[in-house]
C-alpha cells in the first residue's frame, strides 16, 4: 500500500546535518534536468523525475545515491517520452565507456 519512498513517520536514524560538496558529475545531472525542463524544450518535468524515482523499487532506491536516482529517473523518463531509444542509449553508454578505457 505505502510506497517505499513514502517513509514519513517510519522509524529512522539521526538526521545527518553536515554539508558536503557535490562531485562534478552530480552538478551536471542537476543542470541536465534544468535544461530538459526549459520552456523551449519541455522534455521533462520535476513531477516526472519524482514519479520515476518512486518507480525504482526499494532495492535500487536504498542502494543509489541522490543523484544516481536522478540520472536513472531522467533516463527512464526520456525513454518513455521517446526522446531516444534504449538501443541509442546503450550504444552511447558503450561509446562513453570505451573513451575511459
Amino acid at each position: 500500500m505505502r510506497g517505499h519512498h513514502d517513509m514519513g513517520g517510519e522509524p529512522a536514524g539521526p538526521v545527518e546535518r553536515t554539508e558536503h560538496d557535490y562531485a562534478p558529475w552530480e552538478k551536471r545531472v542537476d543542470a541536465m534536468l534544468v535544461l530538459l525542463g526549459a520552456p523551449e524544450r519541455q522534455l521533462m518535468r520535476t513531477d516526472e523525475l519524482r514519479r520515476n524515482i518512486e518507480a525504482l523499487g526499494p532495492d535500487a532506491y536504498e542502494r543509489m545515491s541522490y543523484y544516481e536516482r536522478w540520472i536513472a529517473s531522467i533516463a527512464a523518463t526520456l525513454l518513455q517520452r521517446g526522446v531516444f531509444t534504449a538501443d541509442e542509449l546503450g550504444r552511447k553508454l558503450a561509446e562513453v565507456e570505451a573513451r575511459g578505457a
Partner: protein
C-alpha cells in the same frame, strides 16, 4: 489578492474549516503522505491553485488548477505514543481533491 485564474477549480474550503483527508491508496504518483490519509485537521490557509502534480507526473496538463491548502493536524492524534507537548501540531500542504468536509467533528 488576485482573482483566481479562469482555469482553476473554485476553492471549497476556508481557513478554519474542519477537513478529513481521503483514505485512498490509488496507484500512481501521489502527493499526500500515507500517514496522513484518513486523518482530520483544520484548514490553516489557502495557498493558491496549481496544476495537479499527480497529473504533471504523467506529462498531462494538470489543468484545471487544483486549490492547495495548508492543513493543521494535532501530532498527538497522528502518533499512538507521541511524547511531545499535547499542543504540538504539524502542517501539511494538501490538494483539494484529497480533502472532504469532516462532518464528524463539525
Amino acid at each position: 489578492m488576485n482573482a483566481p485564474p479562469q482555469d482553476a477549480l473554485p476553492a471549497q474550503f476556508r481557513p478554519g474549516d474542519r477537513v478529513r483527508v481521503r483514505r485512498a491508496h490509488p496507484p500512481g504518483h501521489l502527493r499526500t503522505p500515507s500517514y496522513i490519509r484518513g486523518q482530520a485537521g483544520a484548514v490553516e490557509r489557502l495557498c493558491g491553485a496549481f496544476p495537479n502534480p499527480e497529473e504533471l507526473a504523467y506529462n498531462r496538463s494538470g489543468l484545471p488548477r487544483q486549490p492547495l491548502y495548508r492543513v493543521r493536524f494535532r501530532q498527538a492524534e497522528l502518533w499512538p505514543h507521541y511524547a511531545g507537548p499535547a499542543a504540538d501540531t504539524i502542517e501539511i500542504e494538501i490538494y483539494q481533491h484529497w480533502l472532504e468536509p469532516d462532518e464528524a467533528t463539525r
